[in-house]
């Protein structure tokens, strides 16, 4: 049996930042389903928000975030996010992050959606990538133990607390138990529940689903972000930085249609507003071929595109065949980010003793009903750091929680049975591929940007049927190294659990707020719905309750851009 005082699950920005802040204070290890440098944090392009400039202020950043959240964000958590921002950016700078610089040599900042100031620190359009690799360098420096391609299977509970983890070593095809004092989940989002998503294949919500099954609370899962600009067809992300640097959105008539939706902010309105506008243009017949609109960068000039948006240019050329310096890019909105997640306090602590969460997997909530561009990268490093510091303190103070052989056996036995099962047990007329396809299509078609009560209820029913089909599948295949079919089987199970909670939460919330837009309830309803949605696992599926929103400075107002 392995032992680590602190186990960080997930090797992206939040996980690595957490592990770094534990190292030297307590024994920490990182467990990651893919090599840390392959984490999807690396695909983030736009930047990290922080009020660094003289004319900007932390107060302004707080207000923009509260308003962007459609007043569902918890203002105490938002205050922490924005206040810690500048300090963390400087800390990353001293670790060696190659930020793009202003002519004066300061860390340059660019505009992103919903912000009243150019506030995103960036490195061309590789912002997540360079910080991820810099943090990985620091992990090597600190000698933090990494378990690459190991998958979390279960949180081991004894005496009402998390006392360890059951994990699967994919390369060696074996189960391992790791005893822990504290576990930090930093496993990211569940984008692969949707057919159209910017997310990587690895983003299957493992941590959220496993925490939920162990008794943690998931909060605000119905709030799903759809990014306005993804390549038509493949849904590869085209950064908001493309609009931040001055790009236009145009419909088939050539009009900058955002003038009709957000006359002040135009293309730099928040993502929920822009995604709805694009779909509305398409719905009303002003899309191209009835399916997409244009992101036009041609007026920016080749030099600026090469300097500020080199990755966007490469992606557009390679995957859509058009050079954005010369031709507009065909774009459509697609699932991008989960505002909801494992409910935590402002230190990342969950109600389950021994379990914390940070980054996209967590819900503090700093994003409320809609996240602003540049705030998720900031969240990963600010709250990864805080969670790391918190557990270091906790791990030093406490003794090892007990984890009896009996408990371990209770968890391990079913997994041993699954791994030993003969592939022949598989229902041959059905497959995880077929179930995954049905689920992702359903989520994109019926739990997307525009939602209605009947469609959501139908989605809930269909998901129930898919879960029943899934239960009948049995073990996908025998034991072997790099058994991706087994992982796929588990991941589809996580995604089904989460999809059910998302769809049920969306069906229940009879108002429109941020990214959750109900065509049958198009107004925000603060009287009845200014609260979080908590979901806890019950005997017959998720049980929902309302949680209070923390309001410190800003009472809800009408939200216009």
């Amino acid at each position: 049996m392995l032992m680590h005082e602190v186990l960080v699950v997930g090797g992206g920005l939040a996980g690595l930042m957490a592990a770094l802040n534990v190292s030297g204070r307590a024994d920490a290890a990182v467990l990651s389903k893919i090599y840390p440098t392959r984490s999807h944090s690396g695909a983030a392009q736009g930047g990290f928000n922080a009020a660094m400039a003289k004319d900007d202020s932390i107060e302004a950043h707080i207000f923009d975030t509260v308003k962007g959240s459609d007043y569902l964000g918890d203002q105490d958590a938002i205050e922490v996010l924005c206040s810690d921002g500048p300090e963390v950016i400087c800390e990353l700078d001293r670790m060696g992050v190659p930020w793009t610089r202003s002519t004066e040599g300061a860390i340059a900042q660019r505009s992103l959606g919903g912000a009243g100031f150019p506030r995103a620190c960036f490195a061309a359009d590789f912002s997540g990538h360079v910080v991820l690799h810099t943090l990985y360098e620091q992990i090597l420096k600190q000698g933090v133990r990494v378990y690459p391609e190991w998958h979390l299977l279960e949180l081991l509970m004894e005496g009402g607390r998390v006392s360890g983890a059951l994990v699967y070593d994919l390369p060696r095809a074996r189960l391992e138990v790791i005893r822990t004092k504290q576990i930090i989940l930093a496993t990211g989002g569940y984008g692969r529940a949707f057919a159209k998503t910017t997310n990587a294949h690895a983003n299957t919500g493992d941590g959220m689903a496993i925490a939920y099954r162990a008794g943690a609370v998931l909060s605000d899962m119905e709030f799903v972000q759809f990014h306005p600009t993804t390549l038509y067809g493949t849904n590869i992300l085209i950064s908001e930085a493309a609009r931040g640097e001055g790009g236009y959105l145009r419909n088939a008539r050539g009009d900058r249609f955002m003038a009709n939706y957000a006359p002040e902010k135009m293309e730099l309105a928040p993502r929920d507003v822009v995604s709805r506008a694009i779909f509305n243009e398409i719905k009303e017949g002003r899309g191209f071929e009835g399916h997409y609109v244009h992101l036009d960068l041609t007026h920016l000039g080749e030099a600026l595109i090469a300097e500020r948006l080199p990755q966007v240019r490469d992606l557009a050329i390679r995957y859509s065949g058009a050079d954005p310096a010369r031709l507009p890019i065909n774009i459509e909105p697609a699932q991008h980010y989960s505002m909801g997640g494992v409910r935590t306090d402002i230190w990342g602590m969950t109600p389950l003793p021994g379990l914390l969460a940070a980054g996209e997997v967590a819900n503090l909530s700093v994003h409320g009903a809609n996240r602003l561009g540049g705030n998720s990268l900031l969240e990963t490093v600010v709250f990864g750091r805080r969670a790391g510091r918190k557990v270091a303190e906790l791990a030093r103070e406490e003794t090892w929680p007990s984890l009896s052989e009996k408990t371990v056996k209770r968890y391990v036995d079913p997994w041993n049975a699954l791994l030993a099962a003969e592939p022949g047990r598989r229902a041959l007329d059905d497959s995880t591929f077929a179930i995954r396809r049905a689920m992702t299509t359903l989520m994109t078609n019926q739990v997307g940007v525009f939602r209605t009560g009947p469609e959501l209820q139908d989605a809930v029913d269909q998901l129930q049927q898919l879960k029943e089909r899934y239960q009948k599948l049995g073990a996908p295949i025998g034991r072997q190294p790099f058994n991706y079919a087994l992982m796929d089987y588990l991941e589809v199970g996580y995604l089904l659990d989460l999809s059910e909670i998302i769809a049920q939460g969306a069906a229940a919330r009879c108002e429109s707020r941020g990214a959750h837009y109900r065509m049958d309830f198009p107004q925000r309803d603060d009287q009845n719905w200014l609260h979080h949605t908590f979901a806890k696992r019950g005997k017959k599926g998720p049980e929902f309750s309302a949680g209070p929103v923390t309001i410190t400075s800003y009472e809800p107002q009408e939200r216009g851009y």
């Binding site: 893919i34 090599y35 440098t37 392959r38 984490s39 999807h40 690396g42 695909a43 400087c90 700078d93 001293r94 670790m95 060696g96 190659p98 930020w99 793009t100 610089r101 202003s102 002519t103 004066e104 040599g105 300061a106 860390i107 340059a108 490195a123 590789f126 990538h129 360079v130 690799h133 810099t134 360098e137 620091q138 090597l140 420096k141 690459p148 390369p171 990587a200 294949h201 690895a202 493949t234 590869i236 992300l237 300097e307 990755q311 490469d314 992606l315 390679r318 995957y319 065949g321 497959s431 591929f433 996908p476 295949i477 072997q480 190294p481 790099f482 058994n483 991706y484 079919a485 796929d488």
Partner: protein
Amino acid sequence: MEVVLKICRFDPKEDILPFFQKFPVRMEGSQTVLDALLLAWQQDPTLSFRRSCRSAICGSCAVRINGQPALACQTLISKATENGDLITIEPLPHFQQLKDLVVDLEPFFESLRATIPWLILREDYEGWMSPEVAHRLESPATCILCGLCQAGLGETEEIKPATLVKALRLSQDPRDALGMHRIRLMQVPAEVLQLFLRRLPEKCPKGIKITAAA
């Protein structure tokens, strides 16, 4: 169009030697070899290959396509079928095959330690850097640690390609106290280094160019 993938299979528990298996798949020219691999996987779920971002930023799907090391997600079907509709896919050369297209990455990631792979901050750094200097750091900082350089250039005792890219990136950083000492500590002969820098851009999926070295 109808394409045939000829994929190198090897299960250490079952097979003494690797062998090839053919998978017919229907593809569009604008799709990628990774898309084709995902279809092959649906035909035979025991097929193992790494993938994640599908947009050439994570480096997981580095394999050998028609003899050349490449990222599967970055290689269009139209390109891979220029010389016929058979696409041969093998694991990366200069890496040990563990199963099918999956190779052992442990020695590759371990090899970063042949340099000091982190910045050692100068005491007099005050937070400023000229935009021109910062811009020079960008290209080597786009390294995704995919291993294609090692697969394409091979690895001798003097030179571990990805490690050298990391070392050069850090040594050119004005914040770094070690600077070019980092390269000298690696004891890479000057002519080997120059040859490496000349050949790197064509082997690297990010086309990394490092100027003003040594």
